[in-house]
C-alpha cells in the first residue's frame, strides 16, 4: 500500500529528477511539496537514507550550495567514464547536434545567443563543432565585447547533403500552441466584434 509518506518521497524524487543539475532549495521543496520546511527537510533526508541503504540504487541526493540535487553514486564513477567513449549513434552528440541546429538556422549567431536558446553553456559543443569543421567564425558582432559570430561551413553542407543553406527544411520554432492561442484569440475577437456590432445575432 502506498502511504502518505511514500507519496511524498515519490513526489520529491520526481521533482528532483526533473530539476536536474540546478537542484531545488529547501524553500522550493517546501512550496512544491506543499508542506512545512521542516517536513520537507525530513523527507529529503529520508530519501537520501533510502538511496544509501539500497545497494541497487545508482543515484542519491546531495546538497550543494543550498540546493538538493540528484547525483549518481560515487561508486559508479569509473563505469560512467565509459559513457565518454560511447557517444550516440550519429557520432555527433545530441548537445553538438542541438548547437549545430541553432547555428545552421540562426547564423550568424553568437555564443551568448546559443546559450540563451539552450539554457545551458555551449562552449564545449561549439569547440567540438569547430574541430569537426562543421562550424567556423564568421566575423564579429559590432557591439561591446565584439563577440564572435558563428556560421556553418561547406563541409557541413556536404555532410548533410545540402546544396545550399537555403535548402534547410523550415523549422517550427514556436509551439503551435502559441499560434493556436493567437488564432483562438483572433476568432474570439471577431466573434466578440460581430456580437457587439450586430447586437448578438450571430448564432
Amino acid at each position: 500500500m502506498e502511504t502518505l509518506n511514500d507519496r511524498m518521497l515519490g513526489m520529491l524524487e520526481s521533482f528532483l529528477f526533473i530539476a536536474g543539475d540546478e537542484g531545488l532549495t529547501l524553500n522550493q521543496l517546501a512550496v512544491l511539496l506543499q508542506t512545512e520546511k521542516e517536513i520537507a527537510a525530513q523527507t529529503a533526508e529520508q530519501l537520501r537514507q533510502n538511496y544509501e541503504n539500497r545497494y541497487d540504487a545508482g543515484i542519491t541526493v546531495r546538497m550543494y550550495g543550498g540546493s538538493y540535487r540528484l547525483v549518481t553514486k560515487a561508486e559508479y564513477a569509473d563505469d560512467i567514464v565509459r559513457m565518454l567513449e560511447n557517444p550516440s549513434r550519429n557520432s555527433i552528440t545530441q548537445a553538438s547536434l542541438e548547437v549545430l541546429a541553432i547555428i545552421a538556422y540562426k547564423q550568424p549567431v553568437t555564443r551568448v545567443e546559443i546559450d540563451d536558446l539552450r539554457g545551458v553553456k555551449s562552449d564545449g559543443p561549439i569547440q567540438t563543432l569547430v574541430a569537426k569543421g562543421f562550424v567556423m567564425e564568421k566575423g564579429r558582432l559590432e557591439s561591446s565585447g565584439r563577440p564572435i559570430l558563428y556560421g556553418t561551413t561547406d563541409l557541413f553542407l556536404d555532410r548533410f547533403g545540402l546544396e545550399s543553406i537555403d535548402k534547410l527544411p523550415p523549422l517550427a520554432e514556436d509551439d503551435e500552441e502559441s499560434f493556436g492561442d493567437t488564432d483562438l484569440f483572433m476568432t474570439k475577437f471577431q466573434e466578440a466584434f460581430e456580437l457587439t456590432g450586430e447586437g448578438g445575432t450571430n448564432e
Binding site: 557520432s91 549545430l100 545540402l162 534547410l168 457587439t196
Partner: protein, 254 residues
C-alpha cells in the same frame, strides 16, 4: 433544416461525408445516395467562408455523389446484373468505390485518434536533461565520413525547445503569479477607472510577451461580452478607444 454545424471543423469532403453518415445513422455499406447527396450539397451551400481551392475539393466530391446517384437511378437490366455464369455481378454497385474510400479514410482518422491518446499518455512522463559529462574527462569525438541527416537537426532543435520548458521553471514559476484572465479583467477595470473611464486600446498592449498579450485580449473580450466595456472606433484606421460601458434601463449599451 435547423441543424447547424461549424464547417471549418471538417478536414475535407470525406470528413464531412463521414460526419453526415454518422449523424444520419446511415449504414456506410448501404448509402441512400439521394439523401446523402442532398445533405452534402446543403452543407456546401452553408460553407460561405471556404477558400476557393478548398471549395473545389468539396465540389469534386459533390460531382462524384451526383454521378453515383444518377447511375443508381438507371434501371438495371437483368442480363447485365447476371454474368455469364448466371451469378450476380457484385462489382457493379456504383457506390463501391466511394464506400472503399470512406472506409479507408475512416481507418486513418481512427488511427489519428489513437495516436493522440498515445501522445497524451506519453505526455504525463517527464524526463531530464542529460548530465554534463565534462567533469569525467574529454568526450570522445569519433571522426567518420558518414552522411548526416538534416532532419536530425530539426529533431535536435525540437528536443531542445521541449527541454527548455523543463529548465528554469521551478524557481521562477513558484512565485510567479498566475496570469489569469479574471485578474487581468480586474486590473483593466481599475486602470480605466483611474484614467477617468476610457483609454487608448493600444495602451493596454504596450508590454509583455505573447501570453500576456493574449490574456489581455481575452480579458477585453470577456469584458466586452459582459458589457463592462465598449470599444469604439471613429472610422477606419482611427485609434480604438476603450470605455467603461454604461447601461441604460433596458440593459443596452450606451
Amino acid at each position: 433544416m435547423t441543424y447547424s454545424v461549424k464547417l471549418e471543423a471538417f478536414e475535407g469532403p470525406l470528413d464531412l461525408l463521414l460526419h453526415l453518415i454518422n449523424r444520419l445513422e446511415i449504414d456506410i455499406y448501404d448509402i441512400p445516395m439521394a439523401e446523402l447527396t442532398s445533405q452534402y450539397i446543403e452543407h456546401l451551400h452553408a460553407m460561405r467562408v471556404l477558400e476557393l481551392d478548398e471549395l473545389s475539393e468539396y465540389l469534386v466530391l459533390a460531382a462524384t455523389l451526383l454521378e453515383i446517384k444518377s447511375k443508381m437511378l438507371l434501371p438495371i437490366h437483368e442480363e447485365e446484373a447476371l454474368d455469364e455464369a448466371g451469378t450476380f455481378d457484385l462489382e457493379e454497385d456504383p457506390r463501391d468505390e466511394l464506400v472503399a474510400r470512406l472506409i479507408e479514410y475512416k481507418k486513418y482518422k481512427e488511427a489519428a485518434n489513437s495516436l493522440k491518446e498515445s501522445a497524451d499518455d506519453r505526455a504525463v512522463h517527464f524526463t531530464k536533461l542529460p548530465e554534463d559529462l565534462s567533469g569525467y574527462g574529454e568526450v570522445a569525438v569519433v571522426e567518420s565520413d558518414e552522411k548526416l541527416n538534416v532532419f536530425d537537426l530539426i529533431s535536435a532543435f525540437q528536443k531542445m525547445l521541449e527541454r527548455k520548458k523543463l529548465r528554469a521553471p521551478l524557481s521562477a514559476s513558484i512565485m510567479k503569479s498566475e496570469r489569469s484572465v479574471s485578474e487581468k479583467m480586474d486590473s483593466i477595470m481599475t486602470l480605466l477607472e483611474r484614467l477617468g473611464g476610457s483609454c487608448d486600446f493600444e495602451a493596454l498592449f504596450d508590454d509583455g510577451d505573447i501570453e500576456d498579450l493574449v490574456v489581455t485580449f481575452l480579458s477585453l473580450l470577456e469584458l466586452m461580452k459582459r458589457m463592462d466595456i465598449v470599444v469604439k472606433q471613429e472610422g477606419n484606421f482611427a485609434r480604438m478607444m476603450i470605455q467603461v460601458g454604461t447601461e441604460d434601463d433596458n440593459g443596452n449599451i450606451e
